[in-house]
Symmetry: C2
Subunit: 291 residues, 2 copies
């Protein structure tokens, strides 16, 4: 496994790989590091699907708001490299901030509609920052496929739209959420949680489970508002929970849904965000309504 | 020479070219058609520098404002293909609007600062539209180099910035303005000019020539405002001329210059736009001040 810090070195290595093995496919897993089993599952999927696997580790300042946790975002490069090696990664790209942003970026990429609700509403500019870094990394690595976890379902939707709108020549592969034994969705930010916050945070995944059951048992139409209220009530039982949003939208367009019925073709996603203490967590579940 | 209308067909052809001849370089000349000797010079430069030359012809609706000339923009595909063939083009890509924009584009690319003056000021959204189509074409064709005429000097600057900010893996090659015998910068829009407008439009290139002389003769510092006024006065002698702007900025950053002196390192550009009747023309000259 090679660890590379500079763009030009990475380009040279990948050029060499492509020249030696024409037709070799490159799988790419972009991350902000502090890797967990969710990231491992992305590396495994990339390994399964591609000949060469590139992991990037870069905490992207552009996607953090001024009052967000950029400075305290957890980092542990040594452990990350161990996990990457265990998963058979070929190259880890760990650029510095100045390597990725040598000058102030004057190019802004913004996606309308799809960034206007869910996390986009409470994190203005977040997805603009994601779009820029992902585009930069795609241009540097030129992967055949890139792998993203569905915990950040809006991120997956935004990147699919970006790739589609701009004809980027790669496949976006969304991968299932990986959960702890007790249901908590894996996240680098879980490390922030105090024990009691950690316990109460289980209400997020259990609320989604409840909602899924309710949908499966429903004979007829369900109103999205009722379902959202049920989820809110369930989470609100936890005194430390501060709900930011609970939304039901189509996937991957993220357009509002008001009535859930079998006649809806395609998938919907129930997505939510809540704070426990200072820690903001998100979770979601994608449901295929039509049978 | 192959003429291709569909993205997937073009990708397949280019994939074949790359597979057969590893290391083959692809040169790309994006145009809106109605080709003239300016475009021919871009194709010649591409031919000189690259192994395989792709020309695109696409009148991009996204870069025209609601009151601009999208509908009446001149088109002549048969003549364009002849010229392309004469210049040894390998592939001409002529997509339909629906091929390039099958769905409304939700991705907006905007560049700050560099689009705020010159043509950017009078054509809001123009360079956003240019950025999107150029990015799409770059992603489809994945050229090693792309060739742009310096008549649209702000376009060159914007695309350089875009490519730089987003780490796009290609070289942007700016090519000199090609002029008619009498000095008028070649443009597809020159065909709009009535004979008397055509005659008076010569004031643009002659004003730039005058300014260059003035700079060359200057012993010491020149004030940009004085030079701009000299240019305006010269053009205003033509009763049909309606000046839109005359600006002096650094190249390629396009930052304002107030004093021209030899100690300025790098290049400056004197850029102008004016209408003759209904036809908007632009012209410019790039000058190296330091000696």
């Amino acid at each position: 496994m090679q660890v590379i810090h500079h763009i030009e070195e990475l380009r040279a290595v990948l050029k060499g790989v492509r020249a030696k093995q024409p037709g070799f496919t490159i799988g790419f897993v972009p991350t902000m590091g502090f890797l967990h089993q969710g990231h491992a599952s992305l590396l495994q999927q990339a390994r399964k699907q591609c000949d060469f696997v590139v992991l990037s580790i870069f905490v992207n300042p552009l996607q953090f708001g001024p009052n967000e946790d950029f400075d305290r975002y957890p980092r542990n490069e040594a452990r990350d490299l161990e996990l990457a090696e265990e998963e058979g990664t070929d190259v880890v790209f760990c650029p510095s901030t100045v390597e990725m942003y040598p000058k102030p970026v004057r190019t802004k990429i913004s996606l309308s509609i799809i960034t206007e609700q869910l996390c986009g509403a409470s994190r203005p500019g977040h997805f603009d920052g994601v779009a820029v870094i992902v585009t930069k990394l795609f241009q540097i690595i030129q992967p055949d496929a890139a792998f993203f976890g569905l915990k950040d379902v809006q991120q997956v939707a935004v990147i699919k739209q970006l790739v589609d709108d701009l004809n980027m020549p790669l496949q976006i592969v969304p991968c299932p959420i990986v959960r702890e034994q007790d249901g908590l969705a894996m996240s680098s930010r879980n490390v922030y949680l105090q024990p009691e916050e950690r316990r109460q945070a289980l209400a997020l995944s259990s609320a989604l489970k409840l909602a899924e059951q309710r949908i499966n048992e429903a004979a007829d139409v369900l109103l999205a508002d009722e379902l959202k209220q049920m989820i809110r009530t369930h989470i609100a039982q936890m005194p430390l929970a501060e709900i930011e949003y609970v939304e039901i939208v189509t996937y991957p367009e993220l357009e509002p849904v008001s009535r859930l019925q079998r006649s809806i073709s395609g998938e919907i996603v129930i997505a939510l965000a809540a704070r426990f203490g200072k820690t903001r967590l998100i979770d979601n579940t994608i449901i295929l309504l039509s049978k």
